[in-house]
Amino acid sequence: MSLLSVKNLHAKIAGQQVVEDVSFEVPASGVTAVLGRNGVGKSSTLKALLGLIDRTGEVSFDGKRIDGLPTHKIIRKGIGYVPEDREIFSSLSVAENLRLAERDSKPNREMVEELFPDIYSRLNQRAGTLSGGQQQMVSLARALLNNNRILLVDEPTKGLAPKIVTQVTEVLRKAAESVPILLVEQNLKVVKQLAGPCIVLEGGQVVHTGSSSELLSSDELTMKYLGVHSGSKDTGAK
């Protein structure tokens, strides 16, 4: 039984078609990876699911259509979003960033504090002055504060130091124990550690679905869809 179902999704940014007739299902547990070279429409697909860009098509969450809803109502169905490039509010303090994200009556403050002790020691610091890794932690914390039913996580390890990538991966692994994740990720090492099923996009379209481990262990498939050898760390065209 899938939790999130996408049928014939099309999306445009500034008149340019960025997602074209994309259909896929996200199961109710584990990590589902969205893979592909740069610029194939992975991030746009997540934004289209949330209504952050112009889109048509059918998006169902837990069996109910959500594509007619405005973004804030889609999110309030229990969808947490961790955007590409963090998009924290740099002029606000860390505490304000977290407070803004709290929408449940009982947010998971203790759990989040346990996961991210570093950012909880910097609550009064302006978020814009944090390092990239710390900003990513704030971005993840915002999504984990609420009892979401699914997380859409967009390139959480992008531009981070190896040590921070390990931390982020561990946080996602823990989170995935209780909530399904739809993960856009270029770092194939992270995908190998986390993902079950995968969806591969090319030119805004789904060109492959299946198991991440099968895809990443096949040199032929990774060369064909990702432009890299199966042992590579990242997808191509960086």
Binding site: T71, L100, A101
Partner: protein, 292 residues
């Protein structure tokens, strides 16, 4: 020296008026990306509402005058809220159409107010002390200047406290920085849109009552005249920055007065030159940031 002091305080008073319009303009543009050409009409309507209070119950005592200010502010807030709900919201994210409709509203509302109150200025009075002067270092300064400055400072402080200590304030500050991310956190940012219009309209409405004291009259064109300079102030201060608007208001008001007196009535020209310089050297304004 006396002249300089008089010019400085008068410039501050004029800057205070600019700020009362620019504060709303700046917040509205910062949060919503809407260039609101009808904002001057909020001020004018507030001025007329205050005048109507004065006409009915008088405005010679401070309680009466404060009531006129409250009614003026409420009238501005109501006008602004209806504008957002009925005209701006249906055109969400269509910024050109939104700007055009505010231009249309500005023209229509001025014509409507001319129809109701006539095109000629209506002279108003306030508490007698406002018509008197206070002597500072030999300079005889009309008391209404101090009232304008006090009004702007109180409104600035009020809005800053609201932005700093309330959840809606937090949403507005975040929305000015990255509106789409606010919605992606599950927040209905449209409520904040209406609220920002209401706050801006209230400040402009109060500004209308204070402007009628400064000029001695209220007319359907009073808002339009001030709006041009309020736009300049908003751009110089940095779109979306309330403190930037306050600083720019002081600079523009004082510079305008000094240039008018010392450089042969070139105040408006100097202000436009300043605007050009800011756009060339610091396009985001004094305290502005890049919008998302």
């Amino acid at each position: 020296m006396e002249t300089l002091i008089l010019l400085l305080v008068t410039g501050l008073g004029l800057g205070a008026l600019y700020f009362l319009i620019a504060s709303g303009l700046s917040l509205i543009y910062g949060l919503m990306g809407v260039l609101n050409f009808a904002h001057g009409s909020f001020l004018t309507f507030g001025g007329f509402a205050g005048m109507e209070v004065a006409r009915r119950i008088g405005a010679e005592t401070w309680p009466q005058f404060v009531l006129a200010l409250i009614v003026g502010g409420a009238a501005g807030a109501l006008f602004a809220s209806l504008t957002e709900l009925l005209l701006i919201r249906p055109l969400y994210l269509r910024h050109i159409e939104q700007a055009l409709i505010t231009v249309g509203l500005s023209l229509a509302s001025v014509a409507l107010m001319e129809g109701v109150w006539g095109a000629d200025p209506i002279y108003v009075s306030g508490p007698p002390i406002l018509s008197e002067v206070t002597e500072i270092a030999g300079a005889r300064i009309p008391n209404d200047r101090f009232l304008l400055i006090l009004g702007a400072v109180v409104i600035l402080a009020g809005i800053l406290l609201f932005l700093r200590y309330t959840r809606f304030g937090l949403i507005i500050r975040a929305g000015v920085e990255n509106r789409s991310m606010v919605t992606a956190l599950g927040i209905d940012v449209r409520t904040a849109f209406t609220l920002v219009f209401a706050i801006g309209g209230a400040a402009a409405g109060i500004g209308g009552v204070l402007a009628s004291q400064y000029f001695g009259y209220v007319s359907p064109h009073i808002g339009g005249t001030l709006l041009i300079f309020a736009f300049i102030v908003t751009i110089i201060g940095g779109l979306g920055s309330l403190v930037g608007a306050a600083i720019a208001s002081v600079i523009v008001g004082v510079l305008q007065q000094l240039a008018n007196f010392y450089l042969g009535g070139t105040g408006d020209l100097i202000v436009v030159v300043l605007l050009a310089l800011v756009l060339l050297l610091r396009p985001t304004g004094l305290l502005g940031k890049r919008a998302h």
